[in-house]
């Protein structure tokens, strides 16, 4: 069963718009949620991460909103740029047992100029 779910599967926005990528999880013991970004031809790289002690994490144009009660989080990309076009993976793991990251299926984002 898939423990981390992402939606939508693909998303197209215009340059300058805000892209919203959604993620939900099942295991309430997960306490670390990184987002990885994958550009074609490259390997996934950490973009931003959050722990449930806070419900928001911001890094430039990238913001994670976290709802622990509903087991949901979302990645907002403001002022989207064509260079943001990539696949974004939501992941989760238990901080106390950090040998197993569980990944969602990814959201493929396309930003049109």
């Amino acid at each position: 069963q898939q423990q981390v779910r992402q939606s939508p599967q693909s998303l197209t926005v215009w340059e300058g718009e805000t892209a919203i990528l959604n993620c939900s999880y099942e295991d309430s013991t997960f306490d670390y949620f990184p987002w990885y970004r994958l550009f074609p031809g490259e390997s996934p790289a950490l973009l931003i991460a959050i722990r449930p002690v806070s419900n928001k994490k911001e890094d430039g144009r990238f913001t994670i909103f976290f709802n622990k009660r509903e087991k949901k989080l979302s990645l907002h990309i403001t002022d989207s740029q064509p260079g943001d076009s990539a696949t974004y993976f939501c992941a989760a793991r238990r901080w106390s047992w950090n040998y197993k990251y569980v990944f969602g299926a990814g959201t493929r984002l396309k930003v049109i100029a």
Binding site: Q2, Y32, P34, Y36, E42, S43, P44, A45, L46, A49, T87, F89, N98, Y99, K100, Y101, V102, F103, A105, G106, R108
Partner: protein, 114 residues
């Protein structure tokens, strides 16, 4: 800058053959992983080693076997490949307990089974 090195980049083989993939990390990390990325881009963990010890062994067919000679190397052997083994295999490493912990991925090995 790549710090997790995988070889080969691509491998084409026939059903029943044995294949081996190599992975080396130069970051001094204590944990290494093998992930399988299927045709739907889903990343599934297969194995995780911490200081040469197998920590995570997900439900994978027995024909898959990881091999670690030291904490900087984690290889993957597939004894008798099947068509469903066609995928991209990603190696990764991390340092446990680091405040800015993250997975560092290699560029992957794409396996095609004919």
């Amino acid at each position: 800058e790549t710090a997790v090195f995988q070889t080969p980049n691509y491998h084409v083989t026939q059903v029943g053959n044995e294949v081996s993939f190599n992975c080396k990390q130069t970051l001094g990390h204590d944990t290494m992983y093998w992930y399988k990325q299927d045709s739907k881009k889903l990343l599934k963990i297969m194995f995780s080693y911490n200081n040469k010890q197998l920590i995570v062994n997900e439900t994978v067919p027995r024909r898959f076997s990881p091999q670690s000679s030291d904490k900087a190397h984690l290889n993957l052997r597939i004894k008798s490949v099947e068509p469903e083994d066609s995928a991209v295999y990603l190696c990764a490493s991390s340092q446990t307990g680091a405040s800015n912990e993250r997975l560092f991925f290699g560029h992957g090995t794409k396996l095609s089974v004919l």
